[in-house]
Symmetry: C2
Subunit: 435 residues, 2 copies
């Protein structure tokens, strides 16, 4: 009988896990650098809480893992990190504002598994609660850019829009059912203009559909787009607010040195229906598969849980997509193991000395392995090789007498005789690249 992980879920063996950890740790360090603090919430929540968000309601039961515990409590695995955090922020009014928190964790959706979509996946969220200032949006975008650069991305752009402008555009064109229309517009990139026009025509008639489509196609440099937008929507209060906010973000983003990557795109909808203000998405130009980070403002969500609205804005990364792109583009430095050195015991007689040298290396901060199988040299080397350990250190009687040991670079095959202290300095300094 063969057991597999449940459908839509995955095991991560060390090699994959090391790659994922590189991404997650880079993102986490960035969050910390910008003053976000860690927070954690349970994997499951009361069903009542989960069903409260946006237009979800009962319908959401079909898209999540819902269950009852032994006391017949209705529970569900969290489908995002925003709802649990909203609960925490709503029920902890004592938290100093702005409350800047990050959370990295798994979420679960009863999705139909397909390429790149899983029923269990990791989210990385950073949010700022308690400030209405557009400096927050600029800082979030700057943090996203910072992390992506650290990961090795060079070629990416930020598309910016505002739900207030979108709403005004729908109002202006005479749309009666904005939620439905937004769902159609959200698929523009995926389904293409013709399909969107067809669906819009079905909903609102050809004339309105064509008008709306021509308006949301406005995009480009912030200044130009703001000028065009104001020409069309000037005088509509929500639109004016939206333009002002985008102008503020554009100004702030100069301070953060990211204004060059910024464009405004009226067609950006960004799915989730809880957004209330600015929204943005970051795409890698090299990758065809959409955005790798994004975020926006959702000033009404916390109020759903506490009755008292608290301004909120935040962003997150598409970890699974980033992982895929980095693999495909060869952006990972190849690393199969965290271990830096395998200490080879040349014979049974030198085993104890080899272990002691390994202990010494560890105490100096170097990830070190030794033989745990009672194997001969050849087999020890096979192990070091198959697990991808970059260095092997040979401990034999002759070496012990000379107090110099043969260090072999497993990647180049090169060997040299070297003192323990030199090995330590070298490995620590070179970050194991070369000794």
């Amino acid at each position: 009988m063969q057991f597999q992980p449940p459908k839509g879920t995955r095991d991560f063996l060390p090699e994959d896990m090391i790659a994922r950890k590189f991404i997650l740790e880079t993102i986490e360090k960035t969050f910390q650098k910008f003053g976000f603090q860690p927070m954690d919430t349970p994997a499951f929540e009361d069903w009542q809480l989960l069903s409260k968000k946006g237009s979800g309601g009962e319908a959401i039961k079909n898209e999540i893992y819902y269950f009852r515990d032994k006391s017949d409590r209705e529970l569900g695995l969290r489908f995002d990190l925003t709802v649990p955090t909203a609960r925490v922020v709503a029920s902890n009014p004592q938290l100093p504002k702005p409350f800047k928190r990050y959370q990295i964790g798994k979420v679960w959706r009863y999705d139909n598994p397909q390429a790149g979509r899983f029923r269990e996946f990791t989210q990385t969220d950073a949010d700022i609660f308690g400030s209405k200032k557009m400096a927050c949006e600029a800082e979030c975008m700057a943090a996203a850019v910072y992390a992506l650069k650290q990961l090795g991305f060079r070629d990416f752009s930020i598309r910016l829009n505002n739900r207030k402008i979108l709403n005004a555009l729908l109002e202006f064109t005479g749309i009666k059912n904005p939620a439905e229309v937004l769902r159609v517009l959200d698929k523009l990139e995926k389904t293409g203009e013709n399909e969107v026009l067809r669906q819009l025509t079905n909903i609102a008639g050809e004339k309105t559909a064509k008008k709306l489509l021509s308006l949301i196609k406005i995009s480009g440099q912030p200044k130009t787009v703001l000028l065009k937008g104001r020409k069309v929507l000037g005088g509509i209060k929500t639109a004016e607010e939206g333009f002002f906010e985008l102008e503020e973000i554009t100004k702030e983003s100069e301070t953060y040195g990211i204004s060059g990557r910024l464009s405004i795109d009226f067609s950006l909808v960004r799915g989730l229906d809880y957004y209330t203000g600015p929204i943005y998405e970051i795409s890698a130009k090299s990758a065809a598969i959409g955005s790798i980070a994004g975020g926006g403002r959702y000033d009404s969500l916390i109020g759903l849980y506490s009755g008292k609205p608290i301004p909120a804005t935040g962003f997150s990364f598409g970890v699974e997509r980033i992982c895929e792109i980095m693999k495909n583009e060869g952006m990972f430095k190849f690393q199969k193991t965290y271990t830096k050195i395998f200490v080879v015991s040349v014979s049974d007689k030198t085993r104890k000395d080899a272990m002691e040298i390994a202990e010494k290396l560890r105490s100096r901060g170097i990830e070190t392995e030794t033989d745990l199988m009672g194997r001969d040299i050849r087999k020890q080397m096979e192990y070091a090789n198959s697990t991808g350990i970059p260095f092997a250190l040979f401990v034999g009687e002759k070496e012990l007498k000379e107090k110099k040991f043969t260090l072999k670079d497993m990647r180049t095959g090169k060997e040299k005789k070297i003192k323990i202290e030199e090995i330590i300095t070298c490995v620590l300094k070179s970050n194991s690249q070369h000794c």
Copy 2:
């Protein structure tokens, strides 16, 4: 309407989370130092897999979160990390041996919540698959000791036993229902000798109970205990194997420099019924609440899933207990935030400069915050103070002209004028303790 985390689960706000992360990261770095590699598995598994372990079976359904997904698949939240790992090892025979993996993650049990017990908690496991050598046990114990030292523990001891010896002791005293008796013995520390004697008498009669109790009370220095044990059980094959294994571990532990902390204690049972060989527990002497780390060998478990047994041994930490002890004993350095510096903008005019200095500090590796609320100096300082940020840096027009900035140590109240480059060097070097 007020929402809480579900019964038996917890939220971790930043201050608690930073403390927990210190523990988890210290443990993780130790695992890596000893050559364990990271692995991950899904939060839930097929019910068939979960019910297979040990004597669990259907009964385990009452102790875990069991549910069916929309396709009527029977699933359960994992109750430990051992079963998922056993599945992975069983179904990936290509992994080089020894396969040394660690896994840190949440597990869920439908336990009755009580002091220090939760329905959602974190486990930290490291295991070695594929080696029968007792060097593995010594290395696991050494790694546990290493991590505990890094966490700040000084005063702790390792109790060692062997399931083979326990089984031989039960056989020798004529016990007919070993599983039941082991469950009683397992509670010795908790319920005390009298209660254990009473229960044993009920099971096996007074004479046998007294005999068994006197034998399992043998404990102390490895050499002495092995001598005593061999006198009683010499000639019983399983006992001889057990003694040999403990002798090997004792020898190996000298190499790892941990033999001084080692004692053998025939009363140690260590709950779980899948152990097949050596078992051990590490206790902090200062704490009355039992062991904080432990492990053992379980050579039969993998065979349950693949039909092909693979030797296995490993250890883990009692993260919740360690967290509690460290809090109670004041072992955490007080740290409410990862942020090192708050850059104060003295007026609206200097805001942009303040932001740019903050960006510079971040780019040099320093966790930095600035005002995101448009606040005046007093309010900015209140925020820095209430969130526990150790340094405040004042950016005003005068400072910008002089290119020297007032740095305030928020804990001592001391201020000094200092150049940006000096601040960077100082904060990076001092690890934010003092500048």
